[in-house]
Every structure is written in C-alpha cells, then in structure tokens.
C-alpha cells in the first residue's frame, strides 16, 4: 500500500469515525442506527487487504473511544477483527465477487454486534441482550446493508483498490 493511499485511507477512517460519533449514531431508525465506521472499515479491508483493514479498524476504534470518552480499546478490538476478517474475505472467497461488500458487511455487522455484546458483558457493563442483539442490531443490519455498495464505490474512488497478482505456483520439469 503506497504512502498516498495509506494517507487517504487514514483520512477516510478519521472522517468516518467522527461522522459516526457526531451524526450517524443519532440517526436512530426503528430502534437502531447505521454503523458507518464499521462499513468503511469492512470496505477498506476488502479493497486493501487484511493488514490495512486491521490497522485502520484499530485506528478508527481508537478515535471513537477517545471522542466518546468510552473504555479505550473496546471499539478498537471489534473493528480490528472486523477489518481483518473483511480483508481475508477479500483475499480469498470474496475476490472478484460483485456482492462481496454486501456479504461481508452483513456478516460482520452480525458478528461485531454479538462480539460487542459479549465484550461489554465481560466488562461487567449492564447490557440488555434483547436490545443489543435484536432491537438495535436488526435495523442496524439492514441500514448497513443499504450503505454497503454506495460506501464501497465511494471509498474505492477515494482510496483505490490493491492490485493482487494471481498467485499461480511456478513449476520446473526435472528430466
């Protein structure tokens, strides 16, 4: 990943994190709000690979935890894994698939919701399972799916896509 692309990706995550905290979180529709930052991190993982996905996820999570004065590291951990999984999906089964962003965003939204719930539970924070896993997650899932393709196009236009060479194994003939 070139320095310019890294800088652009970092800026995209920074803006997405602030937008998420300041605006998007308050756009509650049917009990849930979209998670723009999660969608951006997943899309960046798909476009740039697992390592940039994980690093950018960690960075975005840190911004959110700093701005909201939350427990440092919680959002970073969730988004690190989200970015990494999205990257692995893009490097393997999702490569070249048209609806890979939708599939990845959908699956990771559900996994991140469940993992976030477990994490908060382990930190002894009172969270109502029904609300976290159904009331808030179901609309967030739908809203994130709606965001997936437009965000993918926008981020791809801003950051570009990592060109991955087909890894065909070289062989030699032994006579």
């Amino acid at each position: 990943m070139s320095a310019a692309a890294s800088l652009r990706a970092t800026a995209v995550v920074f803006v997405a994190a602030l937008l998420q905290v300041v605006i998007v979180s308050s756009l509650v529709i049917a009990g849930g709000a979209p998670d723009l930052l999660l969608v951006v991190v997943v899309v960046l993982g798909l476009l740039r690979g697992s390592i940039p996905g994980a690093v950018l996820g960690f960075f975005g999570g840190l911004i959110v935890d700093l701005v909201t004065l939350g427990t440092l590291g919680v959002t970073s951990l969730v988004l690190t894994l989200a970015g990494f999984w999205a990257g692995r999906h893009g490097e393997t089964t999702g490569r070249g698939q048209r609806f890979a962003p939708v599939v990845a965003v959908g699956a990771i939204t559900l996994l991140a919701g469940a993992f976030g719930y477990v994490l908060h539970y382990l930190l002894d924070e009172e969270v109502v399972a029904k609300h976290a896993l159904v009331t808030a997650l179901a609309p967030a899932f739908v809203l994130n799916l709606i965001l997936a393709l437009p965000v993918h196009r926008l981020v791809r236009a801003l950051v570009g896509e990592e060109l991955r060479a087909e890894s065909s194994a070289e062989v030699e003939v032994v006579l």
């Binding site: 300041v22 308050s26 935890d65 590291g73 030699e172």
Partner: protein
Amino acid sequence: MSRQRSARSAALGLTVRRIPTTIPSRNAGSLRRRLVVGILILASLVLISLSFRSEDTGPVSGVQSAGATALRPFAVGLERVAQPFRDVYAWGDSLLTARSDAEELRTELRELRQRSIQSDFALQENEYLREQLDYIDGPRFPADFRSVVAEVIGRPGVAFTQAIVIAAGFDSGVRLNDPVVTADGLVGRVTRVSPDTARIQLLTDEEAAASAIDLRTGATGIVRHARGTRETLVLDRVRKQDVVRRGHEIVTAGWRAGALSSLFPKGIPIGKVTSVGQTDTDLFQQVQVDPYVDFGALDAVIVLVPATRSG
C-alpha cells in the same frame, strides 16, 4: 533456473517439481499478517485493561482526556456543519406528528408544568412544615446550583449504552456525578470528565437510577430504565400501600441523611405516570413513567454545578 516445461514433456509424464522459492514468501506473508493482527489485538486488550482499571485521575484518563481535547475541535466543527442537516432530518422525522403545533403546545405545557410543580411543592412543603415544626429542611432547588449550558457533540452507539458527550468539562466547573437537566426535566449525570468534554449517562441507561417521588401523594421509589424499551422508565420500589395514579407527576426526591445526600436535587421533573399495576406475588407496585425529556433529540443540556464549588 531455466523453465523447461513443455506440453510434450508434460505428456511424457516427466517428473514435475515445484520451485520452492515462492513458498517461503507466502509463509512470510501469512506470518506477517498474523503478527500484525496479534499485535493489534494485544494492544486493544492492554488498552481495555488499563482503561478499565485506571482511576479518573490516572495516566490513562490523562491520555484519553488529551486525545479527546485534541479531537474536540473536529467534533464541534462537524457538529456545527451537520446541525442544519440534523434539523432537516428531525423535522422530516416528526412531520407526521404535526411538529409545529406540538412545539407551541409543548412550550405552553412546559411553563404550566413548572408552575404547577412549584406550587404543588410549596403546598406540600407548607403542610409538612406545619405538622413537624422542628423538622430541618432538606436540600433546596435550584438556589444551591449554578448552570453550565453545553452543546451535545457526540453519542456513542445506541446498542450498548445510553450516553451523550457534551462540549463542557473540567475547565467549566463540571465534575463527576453532577446532575444534568434540560428545561423539560432530568437528563442524567456526569460519568466522565475531561478538560473540555464530559460524558453524560442518560436516565434511560441500564445502570442509571434516581430516587423519585410522586408529587401529589408523596409516594417514593427509584426511577430506572424499563427493560426492553429505551423510551420508557419505571418507578421501582413503590410500596403497595402507597398511592400512585395514572397521570401523576414524578419528580426527583432529593433526600439528605446526615452528611450524605442524593446526586439529584429535589423537584426536577422526570415524567408522568402512564400505568400502575400490581400482582399478589410482587412486593412492590409496577409503575411505568413516560419521561418528559426526549432523549433522542438532545441538542443542548444544562449541567447543575453546586454554587458553593469554586472554579
């Protein structure tokens, strides 16, 4: 090493061997990937551990406060840019409920409610004082407080917590556990403070609670969130012999026992009783309260800072 494979040689069934030079690079890539993710996960866990164990004045809080202070201008700037769009969204969202008419009535209702609460409290207080002349009065509201008005600049995700972040902090005199209100009523309390920002735990949060009183009958209880919903509160711990009726107003109780006192001053409106129920097996009544504050549309709040506090 020259490449010697041809269709002919392949057809002849010659032994074919993979060139091993690509395998180490693949392994190196995989190792690097695992190493980076492992380091990031470890860093996250270390941050969680430090943040969770640290005290409010510890080094982690200091770093977090510095980070929040550095990011505050961006958040405030974005909030200002977004405000018109947020207003349009809010307007569109509430179009079906005839917002303009409701706003006018709400303002009128707010004034009447304040007057009603004040006169009801005065009446109740007079009667009480007449009956018990030697009673020493408890905390007074709102004379003992000064207000710090602050803009709402952030909201953590809605799934796990009910909180807001405001653009006022330690430097404005805001401290931990200060009560937060709006003109409508009680909002919550301060749970974290940095020099320029503070995190407010809303009354609808799972861990929030406030001692409260029925303004008409004096029945006491604890207001907390209603499980399963975010917009309704319950008045818990109301004894069965106490009288609470639908439509009664619930305000903060503001108790004081020796050196101890409740976080919230008395008389701050909380909400109106929407339903009362009880079963034979329950020890207490089940009282549902509709809060006056619209927790989803908070643009600015007032932090009540004790007048006696310096700075």
